[in-house]
């Protein structure tokens, strides 16, 4: 057997690929589902918290900052394990899917809060000063004038962060979420062949490359601030 044959047999074994492709496809669906939910919920959470922070109610802002700092400091894997194996001891038992969703959503929320907040503070003060004298209230100004500008400004870092977090769905493997990686490692141990992992890698690329390209498109689309 030549080196090339051995390489192909290990990583691109046709029979193994065909055998396990349906499992991995099911994993793709789980990963997609999780990713979409996490991105929507996490971004919404972060944006909402950033808006609440704009009211500058000291104790509320303090709590938001504590949350954001803690969730940005801790590795998500630690939180995932802690929640999955710890919570049942206090009578809360969540499915592995729910734990993974909750932790990654909270993590993305923490980053998104900081990013959107940066956008809100970077928005020209003149925008407030123009809007308030027309009779728009604080909340109306925030929602209709400042937030749209803040979000446009932070689309690039926000999409980068969203991509980084959705890739972390692979962490679900350790608590048994049947995502792409989990299906692939299971298939790998049953078949004793690495081809399912190759397929998983391909699946991730196919899945996330459009995201990455979309983020580039969004970046150029919302680049109206440039001169």
């Amino acid at each position: 057997m030549s080196d090339l044959d051995r390489f192909i047999d290990t990583f691109l074994n046709g029979a193994v690929l065909a055998r396990y492709a349906p499992d991995i496809l099911r994993g793709v669906w789980v990963t997609v589902e999780l990713s979409v939910l996490i991105v929507i919920a996490g971004t919404a959470l972060g944006t909402l918290l950033a808006c609440i922070r704009a009211y500058r109610i000291a104790p509320v802002s303090f709590l938001i900052v504590v949350y954001a700092d803690v969730f940005r400091a801790l590795p998500p894997l630690v939180l995932i394990l802690l929640a999955y194996f710890g919570l049942p001891n206090v009578g809360v038992s969540l499915s592995s899917f729910a734990v993974l969703f909750a932790i990654l959503c909270l993590t993305l929320g923490a980053f998104a809060e900081e990013i959107v907040w940066a956008g809100i503070t970077a928005t020209d003060r003149g925008q407030w000063e123009a809007a308030r004298p027309t009779g728009l209230g604080f909340t109306q100004t925030l929602v209709h004038v400042v937030l749209p500008q803040a979000v446009r400004m932070v689309i690039p870092p926000l999409t980068n962060r969203a991509i980084a977090i959705t890739k972390m769905t692979a962490l679900g493997t350790v608590i048994g979420v049947p995502d792409i990686l989990n299906q692939a490692t299971t298939a790998q141990s049953f078949s004793g062949n690495a081809s399912p992992l190759t397929l998983a890698a391909v699946a991730y690329v196919v899945l996330f490359l459009p995201f990455v390209i979309l983020s580039r498109w969004l970046e150029s689309r919302f680049a109206w601030r440039k001169i």
Partner: protein
């Protein structure tokens, strides 16, 4: 614009207050004994001013004399420390005033336009109409079209601020303010950020507003325009109104020393 309407407002506020009751309607905007400090700096020291209906009052003064602060107090972007502001006879300073209701009756135009960059010209105008006055899209669009036509930009409703020249942006900002049909318009150096060739368009719009009877309080250094269009010129120095009168008098025979110094710098300085 008859002189009889102008003259009572031109008399000193103290005299009017003391009961020399003017035979005309109350002033549209009245500042009484306004004071404002930033920390240790006293920026406004007992400023009183009356702006009559349909009057155009020009405010001159050196940088730092408190002109912007005075305007910003009028719609409470700054909170005066003491004194009162009356809008059409109604007190708008102090507690218990619905700020959002008061503010939309006072239009404000800034040096740097402050248009909403994410909205096109039409939506810059309609935002407050829809969210504050609760107009339908059709109503608001019609009002915006009207306001944009008044500033000569009927054909630029779909343009975003970044696609407009400075002069056009400032005119959209004026349209945004007049669409709310304010009782008075405040202008803070509306042409200072503009290239000289664009200044004329903005001044032309202001001239037309005046002809349509808009009440205006204008901080600006466009002397020629003040001379031609203003009903009254007010000169501020160190937080006080030190001199006021018809433009001819202020420009040709200023009484106060600082006015004279200021005007000579402006006419011969550059």
């Amino acid at each position: 614009m008859s002189k009889t309407i102008m003259s009572p407002a031109a008399t000193s506020p103290t005299a009017a207050q003391a009961g020399a009751a003017p035979a005309v309607a109350r002033p549209t905007l009245e500042l009484i004994g306004l004071r404002k400090s930033f920390g240790a700096i006293e920026v406004l020291r007992d400023v009183s001013l009356r702006v009559a209906r349909s009057e155009m009052v020009f405010v001159l003064g050196r940088s730092g004399s408190g002109k912007s602060t005075m305007l910003r107090c009028c719609n409470r972007l700054e909170e005066p420390d003491a004194g009162e502001i009356l809008l059409e006879g109604e007190r708008i300073t102090g507690r218990g005033v619905n700020l959002d209701r008061v503010r939309r009756r006072i239009g404000m135009v800034f040096q740097n336009f402050n248009l909403y960059p994410h909205l096109d010209a039409r939506r810059n105008v309609t935002l407050a109409l829809r969210k504050v006055l609760g107009q339908s899209r059709e109503e608001a669009d019609a009002r915006a079209a009207e306001a944009l036509a008044r500033v000569g930009l009927a054909d630029r409703a779909d343009s975003y601020p970044a696609q407009l020249s400075g002069g056009q942006q400032q005119r959209v900002a004026i349209a945004r303010a007049i669409a709310l049909e304010p009782a008075v318009m405040l202008f803070d150096e509306p042409t200072s950020a503009l290239d000289p060739e664009l200044v004329g368009d903005v001044l032309a719009v202001m001239r037309e507003l005046k002809q349509d009877g808009m009440t205006m309080l204008v901080v600006s250094h466009e002397m020629a325009f003040a001379r031609e269009a203003a009903d009254r010129v007010v000169f501020m120095a160190e937080g006080r109104i030190v001199e006021e009168g018809p433009p001819e008098q202020i420009f040709t025979s200023p009484r106060h020393e600082s006015t004279r110094a200021f005007l000579s710098r402006y006419s011969f300085g550059q």
